[in-house]
Amino acid sequence: MQVVEKKNLGKHKSSVKDNAIQFLFKYGAIALLIFIIFYFSTISDAFFTYGNFTDILRSISIVTLLALGVTFTLVVDGFDLSVGSTMSLSTVVSASLMVWYDMPLWLVLLLPLLIGVLVGAVNSFLIVVIGIPDLLATLSMMYIIAGLHRTYTEGYSIYNNMPLTSGGTAPGQLSEAFLWIGQGQMLGLPVPVWIMLVMVLASYVILNHTRWGRVLYMTGGNAEAATLSGVSVKKVKFAAYVVSGIFASMAGILFTARVGSGQIDAGAPLMMEAVAAVFVGYSVLGAGKPNALGTFFGAAVIGILLNGLTIQNLPYYAFDIIKGGVLVAALAVTYVYAKKKFSKN
């Protein structure tokens, strides 16, 4: 009894400070976003316009897809470093199917997704069957896939009617329908934004409101306990990596459609950015763990910051400082809070 009373007493005493931290933890990230938007709006008329916002959304659509994949692997306590390479592979494959082989649209969309599934399967084979830790397995795969996709194109980027090394020119072109995916508009929003929003929503619903999501989170939280509760951890990890591979492939297709050619190494620089988005997302609404809305939010914060700062004419070389700073701030809030919470038991 005595203990309990003390508890309550203690709680009341420190409640003001605690509440402040709790508040910061829960709404800090959102408050920050609002503040940033407000700040840029006062400085530039061009910032707070519908056109600019849809453009920002379109600019983050690819990295958000990539980051959603990473989110899934992080949820099961894995980590997928190969998403960048997988995206690159999907980029050149989708472009080459049209340009080199003149394939119909459905194949052009399907095959890269199958490749994503395959990459996910190989990743999870290395991790689950061989037992290589996630980070190391996917790091190796990152190299291998990067090499593969360059070997596939012999180091060339792929564009309409490109000359072939074997002589002659390629027969095909990126079709209009395909380009529409990356460049079209629908109901007032760019198509990539629709795709992104649908995927974010789907991931959110799956992760937070379905049985599957619960199983994914629990597997990540304590794989052993999950196993003894009847979860096949191997299958779950497999699923997460396959989802990650699919998202990476989707990002690659979107990239091709957006830029109208199959650039090599397109995904490499986006990998770290995707990871950063996921981590910023930890701090959203006090989740403290990977979550779909947070990931979207993280990508948005970074996108808005970069957009605003460019408009501000901040030298481009300082961007990384800001990006890193936001990341540190978000992480600090999350983990300082976690420490508080922990020391309270």
Binding site: D55, R58, S59, G260, D265, A266, P269
Partner: protein
């Protein structure tokens, strides 16, 4: 960066035409770059900034880390922001055409460099890539009396590279005495050093004099790596011919006994300046030609002086360097004076 040991009058360009109130003053110009790498890019940017300032405007740089999607987004952002003019550096037409059309609709003039954009109303600048390749290859052949075993350092995937390749292939078939021993090359984040390591391995593979006569590098980052590898190996029998030249490269060429004999290039600062001039022509309502070929300059190690010079002094020794008048009109010159 610190303040250099500058004589006073040179800094006077700092006191620019801020106060001027001519009709084209105070324009906001966006420079959309695909990749910003090395001294070449930095000099190019400085050329753009310098010329824009001279016209009393302000330049904003958008870089995209090589990512075309980001480049397209940056183009959108610039348009949304309502800039007065847009400069594009590299990129592909597929990725940028849509944005460029949007810009033109919004009445924003666009000048592109090495981007292959084919939208009506856009002025496109191009380096004379084929010409540069021909210049250096001809020099190579001439130096070796038409008989040479060469190493090609080149990579696919970039429009200018591919144009250079066309000239290269044609040249080889026209000059049967020139033989390609081996070829390699990769544009990495650390191109010069990676090239150096690979070149070292190639030198090991062909250790005897005469097995390699010369190296033809399709890009100065390649040439840099090759030069260092050859120097380190103490090989004096192999010469390097490159394309493109930044200030940094110039220093390498000037070094005593440098294997780097010649390079063909357009002064990167000049490219920036010229591009801005065409943009201001458009802003001024003029209608310049839509395709502009930048005249390359051929720089030979022989013609360089003993003491070190930088690219901004190079014009004293090499004809046509850094003094390009391309793109000027009388009106613009007048503007600059104000």
């Amino acid at each position: 960066q610190p303040k250099g040991n500058v004589s006073e009058e040179e800094t006077s360009s700092d006191t620019k035409a801020e106060a001027s109130d001519h009709p084209l003053a105070g324009k906001e110009i966006a420079l959309i770059m695909q990749i910003n790498l090395g001294t070449f890019s930095a000099q190019y940017i400085s050329g753009v900034e310098e010329q824009v300032e001279k016209f009393g405007g302000k330049a904003t740089v958008f870089t995209s880390e090589g990512d075309l999607a980001k480049m397209a987004s940056n183009l959108d952002a610039a348009i949304n922001q309502g800039v007065d003019g847009i400069l594009i550096d590299h990129g592909t037409k597929e990725a940028l055409n849509q944005g460029v059309e949007k810009a033109l609709e919004a009445g924003i003039p666009v000048v592109a460099f090495d981007a292959g954009i084919d939208v009506e109303g856009v002025v496109s600048l191009e380096q004379g890539d084929q010409q540069m390749a021909e210049m250096t290859l001809e020099k190579l052949a001439e130096d070796n009396n038409g008989e040479a075993n060469i190493v090609k350092i080149w990579t696919a995937g970039f429009a200018p590279m591919e144009r250079r390749q066309i000239a290269y292939e044609k040249f080889l078939s026209d000059n049967p005495g020139i033989k390609e021993v081996t070829a390699f090359g990769a544009a990495t984040n650390n191109t010069a050093l990676d090239t150096q390591s690979q070149m070292e391995a190639v030198l090991k593979q062909y250790p005897n004099e005469g097995e390699i006569t010369a190296v033809w590098a399709a890009w100065d980052e390649f040439a840099k790596g090759a030069v260092r590898a050859i120097e380190q190996a103490g090989r004096t029998d192999i010469k390097v011919y490159g394309i493109d030249m930044s200030d940094e490269d110039l220093q390498l060429m000037q070094k005593e006994n440098s294997p780097w004999l010649a390079s063909a290039a357009v002064d990167p600062t000049d490219i920036g300046r010229i591009q801005v001039r065409y943009l201001y022509q458009l802003l001024n309502g003029e209608q310049p030609e839509e395709k502009v070929i930048l005249e390359p300059v051929f720089v030979e190690a022989e013609s360089l002086p003993e003491e070190t010079v930088t690219t901004d002094k190079l014009s004293e020794y090499v004809d046509g360097w850094g003094a390009s008048e391309q793109g000027y009109t009388d009106e613009l010159r007048e503007l600059e004076g104000q």
